[in-house]
């Protein structure tokens, strides 16, 4: 009985503290110290939210760098992330990879004479774990650079320089792997003007 009374009192005290006070204080601190990050690293231009630096978005136009494939529905849905969950021997995975590779060859081939499937990096044809991976490998960015430069009538060197500027290196130069942030890169391209 004594245990019961104590337990009920403890449930109330613990819930008040860990259920309300702790998240509220953490949120209050975040809004002061890290308001941009805590709010979702949103990219705002002319008062309009254009996306988040931490989420892929759909790019299909030839003038833009394209993201990795997405398994969410619709693609790049930052409101309902999901794995694709195709097993390593799944015939559906083989079909998906083949059709993704075919599309890339068709899109990039005209700008890259002699391009074959062996030149396509694996991250370009596989879905990411979140479905909204904001990065592509530097290899996939390099593959797309000739197309973007040609469509925008820019020197290839300019595009390559922008790729470099929008590549996130390893954290502290050590943790993780380098990746090119596609949304940031495309915004930088648009800022240059041109078509």
């Amino acid at each position: 009985m004594k245990n019961l009374v104590a337990s009920i009192a403890a449930v109330v005290v613990i819930t008040a503290f860990f259920g309300f006070a702790y998240p509220a204080v953490m949120t209050g601190f975040a809004s002061v110290a890290f308001s941009h990050q805590a709010d979702g690293s949103l990219i705002v231009r002319n008062g309009e939210v254009r996306g988040s630096r931490l989420s892929a978005q759909a790019f299909t136009w030839p003038r833009y760098f394209h993201e990795r494939p997405s398994g969410t529905s619709p693609a790049y849905n930052a409101g309902a992330t999901t794995f694709l969950n195709y097993g390593p021997t799944d015939p559906d995975l083989a079909k998906l990879v083949a059709s993704n590779a075919k599309a890339i060859l068709k899109l990039e081939g005209p700008y890259n004479p002699g391009l074959t499937i062996h030149d396509i990096p694996v991250d370009a044809v596989t879905t990411s774990a979140s479905g909204i991976d904001p990065d592509i490998s530097p290899a996939y960015a390099a593959l797309q650079s000739r197309r973007v430069a040609a469509v925008r009538h820019l020197p290839l060197a300019t595009v390559q320089k922008l790729i470099k500027q929008n590549t996130d290196g390893r954290g502290l130069g050590f943790f993780g792997e380098p990746g090119v942030n596609v949304l940031a890169l495309n915004l930088a391209l648009d800022k240059l003007g041109g078509k």
């Binding site: 004594k2 245990n3 019961l4 009374v5 104590a6 009192a9 449930v11 005290v13 860990f18 702790y22 998240p23 949120t27 975040a30 809004s31 890290f34 990050q37 805590a38 979702g40 690293s41 949103l42 939210v49 254009r50 996306g51 988040s52 931490l54 989420s55 978005q57 759909a58 790049y76 930052a78 409101g79 694709l84 195709y86 390593p88 021997t89 995975l93 083989a94 990879v97 590779a101 499937i117 396509i120 990096p121 694996v122 991250d123 370009a124 596989t126 879905t127 990411s128 774990a129 990065d135 490998s137 290899a139 996130d168 954290g171 050590f174 943790f175 993780g176 792997e177 990746g179 495309n186």
Partner: protein, 571 residues
């Protein structure tokens, strides 16, 4: 091969020990020092602690026997169970429910409540469209702290039992609970939470927002108070994600730095507890050997998973695309993986989360290669004692240590001893109960679930794969891991059976551990002699690993041959 990746793994291990060791010594002080935070600058903390005991009307300094300790643990957990179940059933009538979500169905509520009370975080529901803000914040998130703290408190009591001699008491539940929550989990969660926010993990009460993409489409971006919850879900080996894709989602885990701290947090407390144990019982070398046994199994997991994933899957290798590492890409099996983590950081997470009974992921397990994906599966079947859940992992390991010294004693024909205490019939019985209960229950439940009509209704894929799904579901729930194998549905039968699995899988070994601690506390120390089996050498490490592999192997291998092994042979 993957030089940079291997370097990252080595730094991980070094930092895990460098931070886990002092944390272990600190935790030993928190649990042993009656005067902790009563003097000096932190005096006010001690005053708050005494205020808590007054508020709940207990004497936090009164020592309890293992029975009294176990009883209050059960009562406390039962009250929290009813409270959480009540919130889920009544959320439709309660506040903080902006989307007007109705009550969670009874069988889902039952399963979810059991899942969070037992530190499992098995999820038979979709967070965003089932749970109100109140249910998430004041219900489920609180249990990330509390279920972890209960496991850690019980471990502290059991370790005291090992350390003490000729005593009946093993500590006070309320004090252990309070001190775990306030002196260990809260400061660690605040530090980790702030690090994560600084890197970009969201922490806001603002709702979803809609962006206009560069191509003019609309994109919904889900946000919420995530950082505070993710910090404790990693530290407390809970694992339930804020987002569906868990820690693969950039809003939960934005870059290499956040990833490193999160995966460090997964093993930090379980590793630190091994050193805490060494300090509290005054047997540091023995603790290092227990750590070595755990680390050996961990290292094997990394050594199998990393090359398999870097080598890539059959489908990707025969597709013709470039999977070779170098020239601006990480290569390997990149299906359901993220660019910023690459292969090595996905591997270390896979092994850590399945060893620690955490269950969170930063890449998709289903898409892993056959040898790579076998690692988390095998880790699950080892019974979650390789580091394991906070508290529960190490007291689970104690069962195997007792069995190991018993078998060593049989081999040389002497009464077995552990840290100077004679291991007798009662201890062996408790250790056997603790070690064998869960695998026995897994097999029984799997059998029931595949021979009854209502059990079969949960299976999506028929044939061999359906058996694997069933086995995995009850193994994951019984071992309080919570990771899921896609495709085992929630019927009222499976949800209820799963709830029973989680509750018994949690509390039977917990009570067996408390009884073992109580029994050891009563014993005297006998001086070591020439015939004593040394528990501080390499022989002990080998024996311990062998006992774990043998026990798990003998129990689960027959079932594995019916499922995953047949499946592997069919391909």
């Amino acid at each position: 091969m993957n030089g940079q990746g291997i370097a990252q793994i080595l730094v991980y291990v070094v930092l895990l020990i460098a931070l886990g060791y002092p944390l272990g010594l600190y935790m030993a002080r928190v649990y042993s020092d009656d005067d902790f935070a009563t003097r000096g600058r932190f005096r006010w903390l001690g005053a708050v602690e005494r205020g808590f005991y007054r508020a709940v009307r207990v004497d936090g300094f009164k020592e309890q026997t293992w029975k009294a300790y176990g009883k209050v643990t059960l009562v406390f957990s039962s009250v929290f169970f009813l409270f959480l179940y009540g919130i889920l059933r009544l959320q439709g009538h309660l506040f903080l429910n902006p989307d007007h979500l109705p009550a969670v169905p009874a069988h889902i509520s039952l399963n979810t409540t059991a899942s969070f009370i037992t530190n499992t975080n098995w999820q038979y529901y979709g967070g965003e469209y089932t749970m109100s803000y109140l249910s998430q914040m004041a219900g489920l998130a609180v249990q990330n702290f509390v279920s972890a703290a209960v496991g850690m408190a019980v471990l502290a009591a059991v370790v005291r039992g090992v350390a003490r001699r000729s005593r009946n008491e093993i500590g006070n539940f309320w004090r252990d609970l309070y001190r775990t929550l306030v002196y260990i989990l809260l400061p660690l969660a605040v530090i980790l939470g702030v690090i994560l926010m600084s890197q970009g993990v969201v922490q806001t009460f603002h709702s979803h927002t809609t962006a206009t993409t560069l191509q003019g489409a609309h994109q919904t971006i889900a946000r919420g108070p995530a950082a505070s919850q993710i910090a404790i879900k990693q530290l407390g080996t809970n694992g339930g994600g804020y987002y569906n894709s868990n820690s693969a989602v950039p809003f939960e885990n934005p870059n290499g730095i956040s990833n490193f701290f999160e995966v460090l947090a997964i093993l930090l407390i379980p590793a630190g507890q091994v050193f805490m144990f060494g300090k509290m019982v005054g047997a540091r070398r023995h603790a290092w050997m227990v750590f070595a046994a755990m680390f050996a199994v961990f290292a094997i997991g990394v050594a199998v998973n990393l090359p398999a994933e870097q080598h890539g899957s059959q489908v990707l290798r025969s597709s013709g695309v470039n999977i070779t590492q170098g020239h601006g890409q990480n290569g390997g099996n990149f299906a359901d993986k993220e660019v910023r983590f690459g292969i090595a950081n996905s591997t270390i997470w896979t092994v850590a989360t399945s060893d620690a009974s955490n269950g969170s992921v930063n890449s998709g397990f289903d898409a892993q290669t056959a040898p790579g994906g076998a690692v988390p599966l095998v880790n699950l079947f080892l019974g979650e004692v390789i580091f394991g859940g906070v508290g529960s992992g190490l007291y689970g390991m104690f069962f195997y240590i007792v069995i190991a010294v018993f078998i060593a004693g049989l081999m040389v024909g002497r009464t077995p001893e552990w840290l100077g205490k004679k291991i007798e019939a009662r201890e062996i019985k408790l250790a056997a109960l603790g070690a064998l209960f869960v695998p026995t229950m897994v097999l029984t439940m799997t059998a029931v679930a595949i021979v009854t009509k209502s059990g079969v209704a949960s299976i999506y894929n028929h044939g061999v794969h359906g058996f694997t799904e069933t086995l995995y579901a009850y193994d994951s729930q019984s071992n309080n891991n919570g990771s899921a194998f896609a495709g085992y549905g929630a019927t009222s039968f499976s949800a209820s059976l799963g709830a029973v699995a989680m509750l018994f899988g949690r509390f039977v070994p917990m009570l067996a551990a408390l009884a073992l601690g109580g029994s050891l506390a009563k014993k005297k120390i006998v001086p070591a002699s020439a015939g004593t089996f040394r528990t501080d050498g390499a022989t002990f490490v080998l024996l311990l690993v062998a006992i774990i592999a043998l026990t798990a192997g003998l129990m689960i291998l027959p079932a594995l041959t019916l499922g995953p092994i047949v499946e592997g042979l069919m391909h």
